[in-house]
């Protein structure tokens, strides 16, 4: 397209944040993911934040129907989806209204002015058209007749009005791609794949895409075009990955490395359903999926599968975790391996189903009747979901225990460039079944289901179908070694302690923590889960200002890394930022008896790095 390029100033940026926002029917998620793909092709580092409404097709034009996709990309190391938006593409007044607060004070807005008519303004709750008054004065507003231009561009196509109007996101995509000097080829390829069998629609979309691109070149409204140069990423082969995809592949890795069949039982729930969708496609990877009648059946079926010698996994989100609690207790009592994935969302109750939060930590740690400790792990980046899911499976089998794996809505849906891992680098994963009786020395042949491995305290896993190992297990308290029902007071005390000790021994699996930033100094930030990017960005910024600050990020929340205490003692202060009302901080304070600081946010959105920076500065000034 170089032949048509007019002379425009090209300004090179180190990073930029763009937000596409419109009605849920406007195709904003698609536009965002295509822009992401182009950005990956441009070799930038990136991080995305899709933001969906809870309703599938909320009434058009309303603020609660606004769907957004935010992308932060750069030639520098990108760790978050961006604190502030540099370019907002607003398809209608509601999208503008909902997202204006996220805009950088010198930001740019591309608006579809065709959508700024009375009805839409009313629906968005605007008394006056914000394009006509001075309310947007601070920003650069680029007015585009997106609907009109789309209709004009497609007037010779044999398509209905609805189909035409629905394609206007392709025009917007083309324009955005031009503005940031992104390649159009990935979107071309994608369209060809998607509409290969519908040539008219394919042609129309391709046409619009290039119309949008050319519009940027030709219109006088754009004086500059931006460029973001490739990032210096470690060499290797990359792909863009969403957390939920990586998590599913981590499960596939567990199946392949252990040789175990995996059974995934789940009940549809936002945002965990995507994991069921992903795994359902992997039937030829030794994975069986089962959509259960409810959350309880999903976890029950997973545990039944584990009893059968298959690794049972179940996935859910907050309210579902509450429903699964009793069965997790049974899994703990019967000492069977199982993984319970909780893709956290805003709570309590139904809460904010499509928004992110980290407020199920205490539920994961303590939300069961009785003394019921379980290993709890949390993923921290989309790519990290792969390894953490694998680890959760491995620990569950090695220690014969249910394991809770915490992810969240943001991690599940956001994406980043992922250096494709080598499966050979994963820890070995041995799954062993007992095949012979294991009586105590000198006694007659017998299977003792609760005779433990001395190192891990795990009991043996016996597959039904194995002759001579017939045994019964259940939720009633077990006598150690024999597994017989026992109401003996001393045995209960002993078993309570053994179950806790077994989980505590998982510490042996935890590698030393790595401290990001300064290894000692004024303040240590302790984080867990999806806040990693915001925390590390914040640490970078405060260190530039001269503070000595480090950060550790916990994958293992129960038990915790053995060296956490000594790292904490190398700093004057500790800060725990969390997307909840202070859950990890409560545990760390009581475990280490330290006056740790806390930063809490429950807005359904990730931290901005600037929020953490502000808190660090407040503590250190």
């Amino acid at each position: 397209m170089s032949d048509t390029t007019r002379e425009k100033k090209i300004e090179v940026l180190s990073d930029a944040t763009i937000l596409f926002a419109g009605d849920s029917g406007d195709g904003m998620q698609l536009t965002g993911s295509q822009f992401t793909l182009a950005t990956a092709y441009a070799r930038n580092d990136l991080s995305t934040l899709p933001d969906f409404p809870a309703e599938i097709r909320a009434p058009a034009g309303t603020t609660y129907g606004v769907s957004g996709f935010q992308l932060h990309f750069g030639s520098v190391n990108i760790k978050t989806p961006g604190d502030e938006v540099d370019l907002l593409v607003a398809m209608n007044p509601a999208a503008l209204k909902v997202n204006l607060g996220r805009l950088n004070p010198e930001g740019t807005i591309i608006v579809n002015i065709d959508a700024f008519e009375k009805r839409n303004l009313d629906l968005a709750g605007y008394d006056a058209n914000p394009l006509d008054d001075d309310s947007l004065q601070a920003f650069r507003v680029i007015r585009v007749k997106l609907t009109t231009l789309t209709r004009e561009a497609l007037k010779d196509f044999d398509l209905g009005q609805k189909e035409v109007d629905r394609s206007k996101n392709m025009f917007a995509l083309g324009l955005a791609l031009w503005l940031y000097s992104r390649p159009v080829e990935p979107a071309h390829e994608w369209l060809e794949q998607k509409f290969g069998k519908k040539p008219e629609i394919l042609k129309a979309n391709l046409h619009l895409l290039s119309k949008g691109f050319h519009y940027g070149e030709t219109t006088e409204q754009f004086l500059v075009q931006y460029d973001v140069r490739p990032a210096k990423l470690p060499p290797g082969k990359y792909r863009a990955i969403r957390g939920v995809q990586a998590l599913a592949m981590g499960i596939v890795a567990a199946a392949e490395k252990s040789g175990l069949q995996i059974f995934y039982g789940s009940y549809p729930i936002t945002p965990a359903s995507d994991l069921l969708h992903e795994l359902s496609r992997y039937k030829n990877y030794n994975i069986t999926t089962f959509q259960a009648e409810d959350e309880i059946a999903a976890v029950g079926a997973a545990l039944g599968a584990s009893f059968g010698g298959t690794l049972g996994i179940t996935g859910t989100s907050g309210p579902g975790l509450a429903l699964k609690a009793e069965t997790m207790g049974l899994g703990l009592m019967t000492e069977l391996p199982m993984v319970v994935v909780n893709v956290q969302r805003g709570g309590p109750s139904t809460g904010l189903p499509t928004k992110t939060e980290q407020s199920d930590l205490l539920q994961a740690l303590y939300g069961r009747n009785g003394e019921a400790p379980l290993p709890v792990l949390a993923t921290s980046t989309p790519g990290d979901c792969f390894e953490t899911a694998y680890e959760a499976c491995r620990i569950a089998v090695k220690y014969m225990t249910p394991v809770i794996l915490l992810s969240d809505g943001y991690l599940a849906n956001s994406s980043e460039p992922w250096l494709i891992p080598d499966p050979d680098d994963l820890q070995p994963f041995n799954a062993e079944f007992i095949t012979k009786t294991n009586e105590l020395e000198g006694s007659e042949a017998a299977f003792l289901p609760y005779r433990r491995n001395e190192e891990t305290l795990a009991r043996p896993w016996a597959k039904p179908g194995t002759k001579g190992l017939e045994h019964r297990i259940g939720g009633l308290e077990k006598e150690d070694v024999t597994g017989n029902v026992s109401y003996d007071p001393e045995n209960h005390q002993h078993m309570t302690r053994i179950r806790a000790e077994k989980v505590a021994r998982v510490k042996a699996e935890i590698p030393p923590l790595t401290v990001y930033g300064d290894p000692k100094g004024q303040l240590l930030v302790v984080g867990w889960g999806s806040t990693r990017g915001s925390i590390e960005s914040a640490v970078d910024r405060v260190r530039k200002k001269g503070f000595t600050v480090g950060a550790v990020h916990l994958r293992h929340l129960n038990p915790m890394a053995p060296d956490l205490g000594s790292i904490l003692s190398s700093f004057d202060h500790g800060l725990v930022p969390e997307l909840n009302d202070g859950q990890l901080v409560r545990i760390l304070r009581s475990d280490f008896l330290l006056p740790l600081h806390s930063l809490c946010k429950t807005a359904g959105l990730p931290f901005k790095a600037s929020e953490i920076v502000a808190r660090i500065e407040e503590i250190l000034s």
Partner: protein
Amino acid sequence: MSENNNQPKGKPVSLPPRAAKPAGPPKMPPSTGKKPSGPPGVTLPPGKKTAKSGVTRKDFVSDQDIRWCPGCGDYAILATVQRLMPELNVPRENTVFISGIGCSSRFPYYMNTYGMHSIHGRAPAIATGLKASRPELDVWIVTGDGDSLSIGGNHLIHLLRRNVNVQLLLFNNQIYGLTKGQYSPTSEIGKVTKSTPYGSLDHPFNPASVALGADATFVARSMDRDPKHLKEVLKASHTHVGASFVEIYQNCNIFNDGAFFDFTEKESKPRRALLCEHGKPLTFDNDKKGLRLDGYRFEAIDLEGDWSIDDCLIYDETNRGLAGAITRIFFDEALPQPFGIFYREERPNYDRQLHDQIDYVLSKRGEGSLADLLHQGDTWVIEE
């Protein structure tokens, strides 16, 4: 698809052609034969030829002390099941009993097989996961009226709808025994218990009707006090491929003694219990009385008077409408309470189809490899 398959028309699923076709009209059950419980290719380890090899009831008795109240109907059911086991040609190690919570749910502890005493109401869910991943196992569910019709009602209907290849034995004693005597979802209206000192208000479930309503493919009723009948019904339930629902009237002599005596005791049983047998006329009271259809209603007829055996309805266990009607004779003063196999239908079972589908995907795509999966989609290389 057959015309009368009680389901909305579906699209063909991704299954090899053999399995995609629902079974044709129900056939007469084979009178003997081993239960083909797994998908092709999954074979059971060779079991010993039971009777000849000397496997007996004793082999199925575990070393645990039985903790039911003396005189409880559960003892007779346990003994019947243990007696039946050697006749089924299933190796003990391939047999699994799964239960929920309640008096009846202690059952697995007493069987020297694999077993799990699970959570209140959840045995069908756990058994579904077990069967789905290990279809070659022979799985029995033991549950009670509170366990599977109250707290676990949802799992029961979905197990039956999916037609998971298991046997479900529902011990109905019309009371909560283990919690010391509250009314249950099968207790009669007005029942005075500790939780209903002025009488219960709840309309009770008719378990067989619930099962038929959930499209169960095998529905039967028997009683603790007739071990011979119980054994026959259980044997047939085992032969059936799919979910078998067997309601067993069980006397709780502590909290609800005599709830079914009308139907189970020598003096009244002939008059008050009706044995339904496929292909045979419906008669009772030692063939002195029979049942005929008067329009849509059943009528008891006197075979020693104006009516003869030819006027009696011939029972057909493959007729869903008839099964629905006969099970609606429910504690009816004028008509005898039916027992026996009410309904039997061949329909593909879930666990088998699940594995057929996996096999189909495998045959189309081959075994997946993690390395390939990781590199799928849009990738790019960053050079040194």
